[in-house]
């Protein structure tokens, strides 16, 4: 993990999203899918915290060696500033950060499930899985056609793909959850990877646990520092031996987790309030990929 001043090679619009490619060989050579970058904001501005983005693409070889690409939805002040960044400007970058997805050793059929630009890190994962001889299928969903992240790229990377939109403007109408059961059947998926918002992740996790399919999810948790200092991005994670749980940092112990170990009830409190007493008896979760 390094902190570098990285030159922007390319900054462009990608449908409703934005994509920035930076030159950071020291970072790119160590990157694995699921890891993220921390980008410093300009000094003397009202938005001061670093912003954090999953890595969409890293090229370690060839003519573009040492570049990294990340994708964002310019919604807040920080991402709006980033959307104005032009090629040849420099960004304050820390990375690669966080734990990456684990590749299955024996299992071979992988279903990747993503909502919105959550697909960005999963396309990177798809490449790496395919390079390891794994079969990759995908379920990609979004609000509307414009929000489906690089559908053509998704098709190229997967054996079969189900695209769903909430308004039916592309693919079937519905959510990734509607499309998952059929895809699990048709692909006989042995492993599931997912990137989505909390409540969707929970439903995906439950579906996988029901069917005893090992899965890994990456959480989109807002982080104040991204480098393990502030303890604001914690996720309640059941200990491996089932002896209780700990609030662990999404930035350092995550953002990739085995969803069977997330204490969903505690994490998805509907009403903000102090945490309830922990439930009795935590499950012992087998090591990935179970």
């Amino acid at each position: 993990m390094r902190r570098v001043s990285a030159e922007v090679l390319n900054a462009r619009k990608l449908g409703v999203y934005h994509s920035i490619t930076i030159v950071a060989p020291e970072v790119a050579e160590r990157v694995r899918p699921g890891q993220f970058l921390s980008i410093g904001m300009p000094p003397e501005r009202a938005f001061l915290l670093r912003r954090h983005f999953s890595i969409h693409q890293a090229s370690r070889r060839g003519g573009w060696a040492g570049t990294l690409e990340f994708v964002f939805d310019p919604r807040g002040s920080g991402t709006a500033w980033l959307a104005e960044i032009k090629a040849h400007q420099f960004l304050d970058v820390i990375g690669p950060l966080g734990k990456a997805f684990a590749y299955p050793t024996k299992l071979n059929t992988c279903l990747l499930v993503a909502e919105g630009h959550g697909a960005a890190p999963l396309y990177f994962l798809a490449q790496e899985l395919r390079a390891r001889g794994k079969r990759v299928d995908m379920v990609v969903g979004a609000e509307t056609q414009e929000h489906v992240f690089k559908p053509i790229e998704g098709k190229r990377l997967s054996q079969t793909i189900a695209i769903v939109t909430a308004d039916g403007s592309l693919g079937e109408r519905g959510s990734v959850l509607d499309a998952m059961p059929a895809m699990l059947e048709s692909t006989r998926a042995q492993v599931v990877y997912a990137a989505a918002e909390r409540s969707t992740l929970r439903a995906i996790a439950e579906l996988c646990m029901e069917r005893q399919i090992p899965s890994q999810v990456t959480v989109e948790e807002p982080m104040a520092c991204g480098i393990g200092l502030c303890f604001t991005c914690t996720v309640p994670l059941i200990r491996k031996d089932g002896s209780g749980y700990d609030n662990v940092r999404a930035c350092t112990e995550g953002p990739v987790f085995n969803p069977a170990r997330i204490l969903w009830d505690r994490w998805l409190l509907d009403e903000p309030r102090m945490a309830p007493t922990p439930p009795e008896g935590f499950p012992v979760v087998k090591a990935w990929p179970g």
């Binding site: 670093r50 480098i227 309640p236 609030n247 940092r249």
Partner: protein, 316 residues
């Protein structure tokens, strides 16, 4: 003239006056390790409680204009693990350690202070008073002068270490409270603790933190912190003050010295720039050199006040 960054807080010496503030460094479960511990003037630990604490539910932080509202809820490994795992690591880095302590009862403050005062590497205690007082219905300890008096008195009497009291700025009478702490044996102050603050998401009709009211930190609170330091320093010029609140550059730190601080702590700026303390120390050095001033201590009392008007009612 050669200037030196060494500061002496009435017997407590730091190689340079920039410390990491409480809650802005990981403990043993260290993250990527971007912070060069041995290059810090000192470290104030995450606030420590007797028993391990899991902290508050998330979301725990929200960015606001020039600042951050946060409430971590004192997540920490507890005394036992801190002594076994964290302290050795800090000792190895040869950085002076100030332990921030909290309790939910007077007895807990006493027990934790007792357990810490003989350990190598610890140079001082910082008493955190913004936690919930379990014996007074969960209101913060700082809300009642009698509780401040009890806690600060007990910890100061018990501990052989110098005791710094961390105070929030919005007390009915900050200066009078500070005087009381000194009478109770406090060695000095850390000014200021985060300012109580609320961030709201109007779209979802919700507070942006799980526990609605958190603490505001970052550049937004710097002027508030400066005023607190200035007022306490003017009343008690011989009592060391560590200034904290929105310091992110050498110039910010210099402003605190001019207001009357003896050293400074850096919090939120470290989250944004993990090498901020080192850069701030360099900035102070450059300022001293440019002005021909020998040490940060020589900046205290240098503030040129045009006219001393009695403090308005709002300040008392």
């Amino acid at each position: 003239m050669r200037s030196s960054l060494v500061v002496d807080l009435n017997g407590l010496r730091f190689a340079h006056p920039v410390l990491a503030a409480a809650g802005c460094l990981a403990t043993r479960r260290d993250g990527p390790g971007l912070v060069d511990l041995h290059r810090l003037g000192g470290v104030v630990t995450r606030t420590l409680t007797l028993a391990p604490s899991k902290g508050a539910p998330t979301p725990r932080a929200a960015e606001t204009a020039s600042g951050m509202v946060s409430f971590v809820g004192l997540q920490n490994p507890g005394l036992e693990e801190f002594v076994a795992e964290d302290l050795p690591r800090l000792r190895k880095a040869q950085v002076p350690v100030i332990v921030s302590v909290a309790g939910s009862s007077l007895e807990e403050y006493i027990r934790i202070a007792n357990a810490l005062h003989d350990l190598e590497g610890i140079v001082a205690l910082e008493v955190y008073l913004s936690g919930a007082d379990g014996e007074r219905g969960g209101e913060p300890f700082y809300a009642r002068p009698d509780r401040i008096h009890e806690v600060v008195g007990a910890v100061s009497r018990l501990s052989r270490l110098p005791v710094f009291v961390k105070l929030p700025p919005l007390l009915p009478d900050l200066v009078e409270t500070a005087r009381l702490c000194v009478r109770d044996g406090a060695h000095g102050f850390t000014l200021i603790d985060a300012v109580p603050a609320l961030a709201i998401d109007a779209d979802r009709l919700r507070p942006r933190l799980a526990v609605p009211v958190g603490g505001l930190s970052g550049p937004a609170i710097k002027p508030i912190a400066l005023a607190a330091v200035y007022r306490v320093a003017r009343a008690m010029p011989d009592v060391p003050i560590m200034g904290v609140g929105g310091i992110s550059t050498g110039e910010d730190a210099v402003e605190f010295f001019l207001a009357g601080a003896w050293a400074v702590q850096v919090g939120t700026a470290m989250l944004v720039n993990p090498s901020a303390p080192v850069e701030i120390a360099r900035g102070i050095q450059a300022y001293l050199k440019a002005k021909g001033i020998a040490s940060p201590g020589d900046l205290r009392g240098r503030l040129r006040i045009q006219s001393e008007v009695p403090e308005p009612e709002v300040m008392s």
